[in-house]
């Protein structure tokens, strides 16, 4: 009997393709079900008021009593924007500068130390970031332990290593020949770094920054002992502030019906916000890349 190798190879190839496709489907199930669940339970509470009003007092419907106030998650949306904005303003300069140093001055001890430290910090559980900031402020500045400032600092602890690592990777993709081209033209090293290397890596740098922003926007743990949460809107950087993940954490485990449905609505809004940020930035980055490559 003649053994047909080519037929066996084809069969093997088809089987594996089907298996890989099935695995891809399985991987999509958790993602799809999370979005489905949030949409089903959070969807009905959405309204303009929901986005602007502050959370109500706790309440569960009782027969014969007036219905519970629905309220909204205005303070949480506002707080997340403030916290993440402030944390980004802190982390991006530090993380980018660290990455530039690690890549452009590699071989020096400090450069290696930066890469290694950023690697280790990326793996640190996010609650540790909260505890770290909490402890520091309890000892040195106890008045503002629970504040927008400490919340943003705790988020920065999460963001800095991510910005550093992703920017490092981005800068490393810039071919060495471009650095040489610039230096050989008599362009000083600092200018070469900022105006040639960083600019060339900008789409990837922005992607990295966005990654860290989305991670920070979804973190509750670092905020538990810092931003603390508040039903009120922004009260100054030295006072507690709300955030979407914090509201979800606090309200979802409460026994009150109106808070629980608020938590589901907040979950849906958080997913939508991150989705919008992701799509928008992808569009911007793609446009930048296209303009560069002249496509």
């Amino acid at each position: 009997m003649k053994f047909d190798r080519s037929a066996r190879r084809k069969l093997w190839s088809h089987t594996m393709t089907v298996l890989a496709g099935l695995c891809a489907l399985v991987a999509l199930i958790p993602l799809a079900s999370v979005i489905y669940q949030a949409a089903v339970l959070g969807g009905p509470v959405l309204s303009v008021d929901f986005l602007t009003a502050n959370p109500p007092s706790p309440c569960s419907p009782v027969v014969g009593q007036p219905p519970c106030a629905v309220g909204g998650i205005g303070s949480a949306i506002q707080g997340t924007l403030i916290l993440v904005g402030l944390a980004t303003a802190i982390s991006v300069p530090i993380g980018l500068a660290a990455a530039v140093f690690a890549v452009e001055y590699r071989g020096r001890f400090l450069g290696l130390a930066i890469s290694f430290t950023a690697d280790v910090l990326t793996g640190v559980p996010s609650i540790i970031a909260g505890v770290f900031i909490y402890t520091y402020f309890v000892i040195y500045y106890p008045v503002i332990v629970f504040s927008a400032l400490t919340g943003a600092l705790a988020l920065s602890v999460i963001m800095i290593p991510i910005v550093t690592r992703t920017c490092e990777e981005a800068l490393r993709t810039v071919p060495h020949s471009l650095r040489e081209a610039a230096l050989a033209l008599g362009i000083p090293k600092w200018r070469t770094t900022l105006q040639i290397v960083v600019v060339t890596a900008l789409p990837a740098v922005l992607t990295g920054i966005l990654l860290s922003v989305m991670r920070a926007a979804g973190e509750a743990a670092p905020l538990l002992f810092t931003a603390f949460g508040s039903r009120l809107g922004f009260q100054g950087f030295n006072n507690p502030i709300n955030a979407l993940p914090l509201l979800i954490y606090n309200f979802a485990e409460s026994p009150y019906k109106n808070w629980i449905s608020l938590a589901w609505g907040a979950a849906l809004i958080l997913i939508i916000l991150i989705l919008i940020a992701s799509v928008l930035s992808r569009l911007v980055v793609n446009r930048m890349v296209r303009r560069m490559r002249g496509g």
Binding site: S177, E180, A181, L185, G186, T200
Partner: protein
């Protein structure tokens, strides 16, 4: 050497502990094309990269000796200033990918910040003309540099180096990534450039050295074996190694 624009004296260059070139002394005459030839790994790229102090941009490198530019030792000068006087074109075209054709050529002038918009415009046109690229790109100088073909990109890199008005132009195997047609264009160009610049070109292609260079230096294993007018070096080599190399017995 009399009338040398650049004079190398007892130059040794190291990568870590490895000595890539050893005790080289050679002059590069003003307004001429000098070629550096030799088999792979003989140190010809290292030598040319010393001439604008690019060698020392790599980690753990070191240079000994003297490199005189108009009688002044460039190893004692600020490397940024040296590189403005000694331009360089690399093996592979390396245009700045984020920039247009115009921005690539004008980058050195723009970053220097001492030039008016008018001066920059004129310098870009002049450099593109000198690099024989103007006619091909004059209608699209704002197009991305990466939209050009490989040969055009290399001429763009030549224009970019020329825009800074260097005194010496170093070319490190500028045709190694190009097809024969593009190579021919660059060779014609090199011949024209020597009326304004001192050109030093590294090539692994002996025919190319014979075609473009007034003087040729032959390097082998990091040492200078022979240097002289191109014709006499190719037709009447004084050293046996040179003869063996140019007749293709090794390399």
């Amino acid at each position: 050497m009399e009338g040398a624009k650049m004079q190398v004296e007892g130059l040794s260059a190291y990568y870590g502990k490895t000595k890539a070139i050893s005790e080289i002394s050679v002059g590069f005459p003003e307004g001429k094309v000098s070629a550096i030839i030799g088999p792979s790994g003989c140190g010809k790229s290292t030598l040319i990269r010393c001439l604008n102090r690019m060698h020392e941009t790599l980690p753990r490198t070191r240079v000994e000796g003297r490199i005189l530019l108009d009688g002044e030792d460039i190893l004692q000068l600020d490397p940024v200033g040296v590189r403005r006087r000694v331009g360089m074109v690399f093996q592979k075209p390396n245009p700045f990918v984020t920039m247009s054709i115009f921005d690539n050529v004008s980058v050195a002038l723009r970053f220097a910040g001492r030039h008016s918009r008018d001066e920059i415009d004129r310098a870009v046109v002049r450099s593109l003309q000198q690099a024989a690229l103007w006619d091909e790109v004059k209608d699209r100088v704002d197009a991305p540099a990466v939209s050009l073909s490989g040969g055009q990109q290399q001429r763009l890199c030549i224009a970019r180096a020329l825009a800074a008005e260097p005194e010496v132009l170093l070319m490190d195997e500028p045709c190694s990534a190009l097809d024969p047609v593009a190579t021919a264009k660059i060779e014609v160009l090199v011949d024209e450039l020597k009326s304004h610049y001192t050109v030093i070109i590294v090539t692994h292609n002996m025919q190319q050295a014979a075609r473009v260079a007034d003087y040729t230096a032959f390097l082998y294993l990091g040492k200078l074996i022979e240097v002289g007018p191109t014709e006499s070096l190719f037709e009447r080599p004084k050293e046996r190694l040179t003869e063996q190399y140019i007749t293709g017995r090794f390399g």
